[in-house]
Each structure stands twice: as structure tokens, then as C-alpha cells.
């Protein structure tokens, strides 16, 4: 756009300021209206798109075998749980659970609900481990003996040291987004049990999801207002005027409100990492306001005779371009996350982050000038005269003189950071653990640790066994394959136990042979297996094996329990198990597929590393492209991305030194850091070119001018970003905490890089773009 056309445009904007303000207000209110519709999704399934094949398979498995995300209650009695009192509590809680809404009353597993298979001298008997009416301390000891004889329940239902027993309750599917309600009811229920010697813990996949919903709510209540406060303080320091604080804050409100409102309107769920979005937008959106007001107050000093309209129009004419460029680079950062990610929460983080930045840009271009028209011309006490520099300006001038004196030192430091960063990047550890979403002293973490220590664990790997014909799972060779698979996978670290139909068949075989231990094995003829099931049905429930085998005896589920939810441990198990399946399940007669939480986790987290580097590279390329086009120079484009590249590499070193995982939250830092951090370089190059090339000032003078004006505005821009992202460090959700920390560090590095390394390189190389050598 030609200068006069731009001027005409902004003249139109300020002439129609009332209409614009009304439109802005309506747009904001219209979006915010949808906010109450926003629903939270904290399940680990949420990290995969609904049409993902691994997820579809897992949902089929859940449907076929009636498996859901369980709530797990652990009852601990250090003196042992096999006494009348403890078993009575198990019974009472199991019964009470049946009436809690959200819990499937038919899917409660505990010592009081499960059946014991007993061999008698004449046959086989299926009966509950104990009957509450006949329960005595002696009977409780008999239950202990029954468990000794029933390998299946050792470690899964009762800890090996017999101090802990679990009650596993599955949730109804209809409560998928309301796990926190179920969690609260259960929590309330167990806190009413105040019984000597007994301790109660609540964990499990369903509980983690429920707890997380409550947890991120509380966290957002704390971090968002705090971020707003920090930004307001920075604005007060920058301009010491009411409008200087109010206007950028209104913009921030619009950006966050509209982004989240539209999320709700489009039915996009609020995920754990979405919690970081408002804070991120607060920090980013305020930058445009800072630059516009900075320019406005500088002009107000220079042209005391201007009307408000003239001041506003001139401000916008000067500022629209850098603001638009920096906004587009930031949008590029967010969009690279969206484009490179496979996981819906990250895609939406990128899309709605970009949307928020776009809204901030539009409000900066339209709402701020319009709102200024409601006000009279004003000077800021900070800007006293054209030549006077305040202490913030002086700091920048000091930095400038250092650059002019020591350009080589700066360049060498830059190269050192690059080398260290590459080494760091190669050592990055990709890892994730959902329980790490909580501070280590949260009750859910303590419960999780206890259950993982005492029992087989709460992390499930399910293996779906498929055969072509009805009753194929009565075949001995198939049962033996399943048995060997169980033996193999159980030998891998962190896998503590497993359950399959084979375990029940072995137990029935043993019971039919006078309980002799030698007969705890798969029988040697197919018919016998079929007949055992018939025999079992003579005293057991028809639905007893629903979780393990389907009605046609074609499909089976083998559930392995792991006591670690860490990706690197899960990956190890998945890799080994898959290798085993590839070599042992090759015939068309029996197929095995890995599924369950462990497989789903491994599937999506394995994409994290590639997504991360891809996102960073896309962001760099887009930023390079946008700046090269805007400056109409490839050299200028390359110079623009140098500081952000260094900032990202520096972060890799920090992650390596501080042992920070590349996980869901942290993996997004690079694209954001690039999109946001590049603003400093854009402003630096834009202003240096102005002073050197257009004003044709000698280098020293040009640098002095740059540091005291643009440098000062950038300092506040930097403070807003760095402190804004630091607010995330007060979050009690560790991944957000680390994300905030990393981006804040990256912002510091790219700010310093833009203020020192970039001018130093220009000083040393004197590219044509800046210095016309003619």
C-alpha cells in the first residue's frame, strides 16, 4: 500500500470509530456467549484423532470386553487385610459403589465380588470368596489361603505382602467428560471411612482424568488473573497512563475471549494443554498495544499541535507494517504446530492460538485507534521531550555501545551456543507420564505410587487375540500360544502380571484334578476345554468371563499390568511385545494386536519427536519466507531467523542440563518461541534499515537512535513476553510450568540475540541491504 492510501484507510477507520467499537463489542460478546458450552476432555484417548486406527481398535476392544477406564480404590492395612474387619470394609465399599452414579454396577471387581473356583473331591465349585453373613476372622484366613491357591488374583487384587487389596470399578461410557463428578463422589465416599489401622487411596485411569479436570480448573483460576496483573504492571511502568494500561488489556481480553469462545462454539474440547493458551495469548497479544502506544506518545511529544485524529492516524501509518509482520510470524508459529501435529489437542492449540493472535492484530488495527478517538490527546510522563531518554532507554543505549565495541566477542558466543545446542538436541529425551501432570505431593500421585509399588500396577496393556472360527479358542495350540505370550511379556521390565482366559482354564483343570498343582496347566484336548466351560456354567454366572473372551469363543483379551506409566518404559514393552508377535503369531489361524492404554500412549507419543522437529522447521521456514518477502531481501530474511534459531538451540541445552523431557507440553515450545521471538529481529532489522539506509546515518549514530527508541519499546515488549510466559511457571501443572519456563528463556535469548548478535553481524559484514556502499 502506498503511504497516502494507508493514511486514507486509517482516516476512514477513525472516522467510523463508533461503528467499529460497536462491531468489536458485539463480536466479543457474541463469542464469549458460547464459553459456558466449553467441555473438558482430559482422557489420554483425547490425544488421538477419533479416526485413528489404533484408537478405533482399542474402542472395539473396550466394547467387546466391556472394559472402561477404571477407578481403583486401594485399602491398606499394615497388619494385613485378611481379617474380619478389613474384608467387611471391602464388602461395604464394593456394595456402596454400585449405587454411585457413573459407576457400572456390574463391573466392580473386588474380593467380595469375585468368585473362587474350588476343586472338591467330587467336582468343581464356583462360589464367592466369602459370604458377608458368615464372615469371621477364621473365614478371613481361609480367603487368604484361597488367594494363595489362585495365582490370578495375586498382585492384581491383593498385594503379595497381603497388606493391600484393590477394588476396581469401571465407569459408564456416558460419564466420559464427567469423570471428575465420579471422582468426587468416590473421594467423598472413602473419606467417610475413618477406621483404625486402615488407609484408603483412590487412583486409576478414570481417577486421573477426573482429578485432572478439577486440577486444571483450579490452575486456570490462579494463572490467568496473575498473568493479567503482571501485564498491567508492565504497562504501568511503560506509560504511566490509564489508557496505556486499559487499551492493550481490552485487546488481550478480546483475543482470549474470542479464541476460547469460538472453541466452544465449534465444539472443540478444552484439553490439559489448552489451559496454557489464555496465558500465552495474554503475553503475546499485549505486544501490539505496547508498540502502538509507544509510537503514539513519541509523536505526541514531537507534534504538540496535532489533533487526536492526526496523532492516531500517523501512529497507525507508521506502526501497521511491523505489527502486521510480527503478528503473521507469530501466527506462523502457531500454525506450524497445527500443521505438524497429529494430536488433536496440539492441533487445536495451534489453530486457536493463531486465531487469538489474528484477533489481537485486528483489534490493534481497528479497535485501538477507534477507542483512542474517544479520548483527548495525551502525553505520557515517561516521554518528556524528543531528546530526553529515561532509564530504560539508557539501559538499551549501554547495551548498544557494548555491541559497537565488542562485535566479535558476541559473534563467538553465538557460535558456541549453536554448537552446544546441537549437542543438546541430539540428547533430547522424548518421554511422557500422565501422572507427571500433577505436583508430586498431590493425593492422586501418592495413591498411584502406592498402588504401583504394592500391586501389579495401574497401567494396562491389552492384547486382542483373534481367531477365524467360532470355538477356535478351545484349541489347545491357540491357548498355548496365548500362554507363551503371557510368559514372554511378563518377563519384560515393569510388566508385573497378566490375566487371560487361559489362567481360568488352568485353574479349572487344576480344580478338576483334586487341586493338584501339577494340573495347573492347559489340558491336552480341545473338547475338555469346552466341557470345562459348561461345567463352570453349572455353578457360575453366564457373564463371568465377559471381560476375557467373547461369546463365540473367537476373540480373547489378555490384560497385562505395568507399574510404570512412563513412555520410555511403555515403549520398551511395546517394541519387544510387537517383535514377539511378529515372529510367533504369523499364521492366519491366530492373530494378536497390541492395544490398551500402553499401546495407545506409545502410539501417539512416538510421534511427538518428529512432530516437534517438523513443527520447528516449518516455523523457521515460514518465518524466513515471510520476512524475506516483507523486506524484499533474502539476506534480511536469514538475519531475522538467526536469533530465534539460537534461542531454540539454547533451550535444547537447557533441557539436557535440567533433565527436562520433550513431552506434550514442552514439545510445543520451539514453534511458539520462533513465532514470538522473531518479533524482536523483525523490529530490529526494520528500524536499523530505516536509520542506516533511508536516513543514511553513520553507523554509530544510527545504532544510538535505534537503541533509545525502538530498543526501549522492544525492551517492554520483551518484558511483557518473558514475564507473561513466566506466569506459567506458577502453574501447578508441571508440563505447563515447564512450557512457560522454556518459552520465557527462549524469549530472553532471542531478545538478547536481536539486540546484540544481529547488530554485531550487521556491523561486521555490512550487508548491502543496510549499508549502501556507493
Amino acid at each position: 500500500m502506498k503511504q497516502n492510501r494507508v493514511e486514507a484507510f486509517f482516516n476512514k477507520v477513525v472516522s467510523n470509530y463508533r461503528v467499529i467499537l460497536v462491531v468489536c463489542a458485539l463480536l466479543f460478546l457474541g463469542s464469549v456467549m458460547f464459553l459456558p458450552k466449553l467441555s473438558k476432555d482430559t482422557r489420554y484417548d483425547a490425544f488421538l484423532p477419533a479416526k485413528d486406527s489404533v484408537l478405533i481398535k482399542r474402542n472395539q476392544l473396550k466394547e467387546t470386553f466391556g472394559l472402561k477406564d477404571p477407578m481403583i480404590i486401594a485399602i491398606v492395612n499394615d497388619k494385613g487385610i485378611f481379617n474380619k474387619n478389613s474384608l467387611k470394609i471391602v464388602y461395604e465399599i464394593s456394595e456402596q459403589l454400585k449405587s454411585i452414579s457413573g459407576i457400572d454396577p456390574d463391573q466392580i471387581t473386588s474380593l467380595s465380588t469375585e468368585n473362587n473356583i474350588v476343586g472338591t473331591d467330587s467336582g468343581i465349585l464356583v462360589k464367592p470368596f466369602y459370604d458377608i453373613e458368615e464372615l469371621t476372622d477364621e473365614k478371613a484366613l481361609e480367603v487368604s489361603k484361597s488367594i494363595d491357591d489362585f495365582e490370578l488374583y495375586q498382585g492384581s487384587l491383593v498385594s503379595h505382602d497381603k497388606t493391600t487389596t484393590l477394588i476396581v470399578a469401571e465407569m459408564l461410557d456416558s460419564y466420559d467428560m464427567k469423570q471428575h463428578e465420579v471422582y468426587n463422589s468416590l473421594h467423598e465416599m472413602i473419606s467417610q471411612y475413618n477406621i483404625k489401622d486402615h488407609k484408603f487411596y483412590l487412583a486409576g485411569e478414570g481417577a486421573v482424568s477426573g482429578y485432572l479436570i478439577k486440577y486444571i480448573d483450579e490452575d486456570a483460576m490462579r494463572t490467568n488473573p496473575f498473568a493479567g496483573l503482571v501485564i498491567a504492571l508492565i504497562l504501568i511502568f511503560a506509560y504511566r497512563t490509564i489508557r496505556g494500561v486499559l487499551l492493550p488489556n481490552l485487546m488481550v481480553l478480546a483475543s482470549v475471549g474470542i479464541a476460547l469462545g469460538l472453541m466452544a462454539a465449534f465444539g472443540v474440547d478444552f484439553f490439559v494443554i489448552t489451559n496454557g493458551l489464555p496465558v500465552v495469548l495474554i503475553a503475546i497479544a499485549v505486544a501490539d498495544g505496547i508498540h502502538i502506544l509507544g509510537e503514539y506518545y513519541e509523536l505526541a511529544i514531537k507534534h504538540t499541535n496535532y489533533t487526536q485524529k492526526e496523532l492516531v492516524v500517523e501512529t497507525m501509518v507508521k506502526m501497521w507494517r511491523p505489527i502486521a509482520i510480527t503478528s503473521f510470524t507469530t501466527i506462523s508459529g502457531f500454525m506450524s504446530i497445527a500443521l505438524s501435529s497429529y494430536m488433536p489437542p496440539m492441533i487445536y492449540f495451534g489453530v486457536f492460538g493463531a486465531l487469538g493472535v489474528l484477533v489481537a492484530l485486528l483489534y490493534a488495527l481497528f479497535m485501538i485507534p477507534s477507542a483512542m478517538m474517544l479520548l483527548k490527546p495525551q502525553k505520557s510522563r515517561v516521554f518528556k521531550s524528543v531528546d530526553k531518554v529515561d532509564k530504560f532507554g539508557n539501559i538499551m543505549l549501554l547495551l548498544g555501545s557494548f555491541v559497537v565495541k565488542q562485535p566479535k566477542t558476541i559473534l563467538i558466543s553465538g557460535i558456541l551456543i549453536i554448537i552446544l545446542g546441537i549437542v543438546g538436541a541430539l540428547k533430547l529425551l522424548i518421554n511422557e507420564d500422565r501422572i507427571k501432570n500433577f505436583q508430586s505431593d498431590e493425593p492422586i500421585v501418592i495413591a498411584d505410587q502406592l498402588i504401583n509399588n504394592k500391586t501389579d500396577g495401574t497401567s494396562y496393556l491389552d492384547v486382542l487375540i483373534e481367531t477365524p472360527q467360532n470355538e477356535d479358542l478351545f484349541k489347545i495350540e491357540n491357548l498355548q500360544k496365548i500362554d507363551s505370550l503371557q510368559n514372554y511379556i511378563e518377563s519384560i521390565s515393569y510388566v508385573k502380571g497378566s490375566t487371560s482366559i487361559v489362567d481360568f482354564i488352568k485353574k479349572m483343570n487344576q480344580s478338576m484334578h483334586e487341586n493338584q498343582e501339577a494340573f495347573y496347566k492347559i489340558p491336552d484336548n480341545n473338547q475338555l476345554v469346552a466341557q470345562y466351560f459348561l461345567l463352570y456354567s453349572a455353578s457360575g454366572d453366564p457373564t463371568d468371563f465377559d471381560n476375557y473372551i467373547d461369546y463365540d469363543y473367537k476373540l480373547a483379551n489378555v490384560r497385562f499390568r505395568m507399574n510404570s506409566g512412563e513412555y520410555i518404559n511403555e515403549k520398551e514393552v511395546i517394541n519387544k511385545a510387537q517383535k514377539y508377535i511378529n515372529t510367533h503369531f504369523t499364521s492366519s489361524q491366530i492373530k494378536a494386536t497390541l492395544s490398551g492404554k500402553v499401546a495407545v500412549d506409545t502410539h501417539w507419543i512416538s510421534k511427538l519427536g518428529v512432530n516437534h522437529f517438523l513443527g520447528a522447521i516449518i516455523a523457521l521456514l515460514v518465518v524466513l519466507f515471510v520476512s524475506a518477502i516483507s523486506f524484499k531481501s533474502l539476506i534480511a530474511g536469514v538475519l531475522t531467523v538467526i536469533p530465534v534459531t539460537i534461542s531454540v538451540l539454547f533451550i535444547y541445552t537447557v533441557m539436557g542440563v535440567m533433565d527436562i523431557w520433550l513431552a506434550v507440553g514442552t514439545s510445543m515450545f520451539a514453534a511458539i518461541a520462533i513465532g514470538v521471538g522473531v518479533d524482536f529481529a523483525v523490529h530490529t532489522i526494520d528500524r536499523l534499515k530505516y536509520f542506516l539506509n533511508e536516513k543514511k546515518l553513520p553507523i554509530k549514530e544510527a545504532y544510538t537512535e535505534f537503541y533509545k527508541s525502538a530498543g526501549r519499546a522492544l525492551l517492554f515488549n520483551f518484558l511483557a513476553l518473558a514475564l507473561g510466559f513466566s506466569v506459567l511457571m506458577t502453574s501447578s501443572v508441571p508440563p505447563l510450568n515447564q512450557f512457560g519456563f522454556l518459552v520465557a528463556i527462549a524469549v530472553i535469548v532471542s531478545f538478547l540475540g536481536s539486540m546484540t548478535l544481529l547488530p554485531a553481524i550487521i556491523l561486521l559484514t555490512k550487508p548491502k541491504f543496510f549499508i549502501n556502499k556507493k
Binding site: Q527, Q531, L534, P542
Partner: protein
């Protein structure tokens, strides 16, 4: 219709001071007794087909031959599985003793193991061989218990166009309730044939549990005979269909069939 009038006349005569509404309906306990007074023949040989369907609609079909004989008041039942082939030859024998205090005896013969196993006295409320009926339901078939419930006759209702007494039953005591697994039941008893045509039951916690529908009742060799039972379990969504075919009351069934030895040797 004649029999109803007759019964009504008796009730009138016995209890003439009652108000009309109560007089009209037969006493529930009496109805229960009536169901036991039917002619069932002494022996019965038939094909019993059990179709079991889980909540996903997957079906297991089991074809059996079922023999039944009364030894005085004692009833003996023998079932041999014919299909699926994996359980072919599996035999189930039960002795139902008339005395409530004496546990019934049950044996299952597993041909693959060549062994007969005695099934420890099952609870009356336990499910019968993977179906939705309990041992007690199987034992009574189309009758209702004379001892376990207190009955209230509600009204007369039509089921499949047949006039039935609707009676409500509540177990006489907690022990019975737990044993049977029912806290309440409703029976629709045909007022001419004295057979159940429909029943509903509730579990111990009071949740709706099962609906049983008996249909295709017709005379075989001059004895009223059921041919179809549909049981729907509302809690598990499991369903069982019992089909009775080739009912034969005339073929003589030797006492020797109803022994452990016969279980091993087959028919």
C-alpha cells in the same frame, strides 16, 4: 370358564363376609397349588434346544435330548448335549427331592475327561447351565412355588388372548429371598390350564431383573405342553430361548436311564 365359576362359588361360600372385589379373585396360594395339580404325565422325552444370546447379539445354540421321569414325588431329569460337537455327549443328571430340607443331587459327565463330576449343591438361585433361568426356575418349569412366597392376587389380565390371574409374590423371609435371588415376582397364571404364561422378577436390590414369556402351549398326547420359553435378563441384556420339540409322554423310560452309570454310557 366353568372351573372359574366353580372356584368363585367356593370362595363365595367360604368367605361370604368379604367385600365383592376381593371375593371375585382366587387366592394366590390356591392358584400356586393349582399349578401343581396338573397332569404332566409320568415320563417325558423331548428335544430341548437352548439359544443363548449375549448383549451384542452373538448366539450360542445348544441342542440336547432331555428325559424326565417322576419317581413318586421325586423328579429326575437327564440332559444329553448333542451339539456343538465340542460338548457332545456331555450329560447332566439331577434328582429333585420333594423335601425342601434335602439338597438336590446333580452330576455332570464330561466325556473328554471320561469322568462324572458331582456338582456341589447349587443354590436354587444359581443360573442353570449358562441360561437365564435358575435351577429353581427349571425345576418348577410352568409351576409356581407353594412354599416360598406370600401371594396377592391383583387382577385378571389377558396374555396372548388367554385369561390369566396376575399374582404378586414376595418371598416369605430374607433367607428365601437371598436363596432365590428374587425380592419380588409377578406371575401371570392361565386360569384354565394353570400354567404360567408370563413372569417378571426383581433382584435382591429391587432392580428389574428378568421377564419370562412362555408360549406355544398346545396339547401333546392329551397333555398340555409348552414349546417355547423366552427369558430376557434386563440387567445383563442376555437372552435365552428354550425350545421343546418332539415331546413324547408315551415312550417308556426305564429307571436305569436315571443313574450315574447311564450318564457315562449315553442313550
Amino acid at each position: 370358564m366353568k372351573s372359574i365359576l366353580l372356584v368363585l362359588a367356593v370362595v363365595f361360600a367360604v368367605n361370604s363376609s368379604s367385600i365383592f372385589a376381593q371375593q371375585k379373585l382366587m387366592d394366590g396360594q390356591r392358584i400356586a397349588e393349582k399349578t401343581h395339580e396338573r397332569n404332566e404325565g409320568v415320563t417325558l422325552k423331548r428335544n430341548l434346544i437352548m439359544e443363548l444370546k449375549d448383549k451384542r447379539g452373538k448366539t450360542r445354540v445348544r441342542k440336547t435330548i432331555a428325559l424326565r421321569k417322576y419317581f413318586g414325588k421325586e423328579k429326575r431329569l437327564l440332559i444329553f448335549y448333542e451339539t456343538p460337537s465340542s460338548v457332545k455327549g456331555t450329560g447332566f443328571l439331577t434328582f429333585d427331592y420333594p423335601e425342601a430340607s434335602k439338597d438336590d443331587d446333580q452330576w455332570l459327565y464330561l466325556p473328554a475327561l471320561r469322568k462324572t463330576r458331582r456338582i456341589s449343591a447349587a443354590n436354587r438361585g444359581d443360573y442353570f447351565l449358562g441360561t437365564d433361568l435358575t435351577y429353581e426356575d427349571i425345576k418348577l418349569e410352568t409351576k409356581i412355588s407353594k412354599e416360598d412366597y406370600n401371594y396377592t392376587t391383583i387382577r385378571i389380565e389377558k396374555i396372548d388372548n388367554h385369561e390369566c390371574y396376575l399374582i404378586e409374590a414376595t418371598p416369605k423371609n430374607i433367607a428365601t429371598k437371598k436363596e432365590l435371588g428374587y425380592s419380588k415376582a409377578k406371575f401371570w397364571v392361565d386360569s384354565k390350564l394353570w400354567m404360567i404364561r408370563k413372569s417378571e422378577s426383581w433382584d435382591i436390590a429391587g432392580n428389574s431383573l428378568k421377564t419370562v414369556k412362555i408360549s406355544d402351549i398346545r396339547k401333546v398326547q392329551n397333555i398340555w405342553t409348552i414349546h417355547h420359553i423366552l427369558v430376557t435378563n434386563h440387567k445383563t441384556k442376555h437372552e435365552t430361548v428354550f425350545k421343546f420339540e418332539n415331546n413324547d409322554y408315551q415312550t417308556e423310560l426305564s429307571d436305569d436311564y436315571f443313574t450315574e452309570e447311564a450318564l457315562v454310557n449315553g442313550l
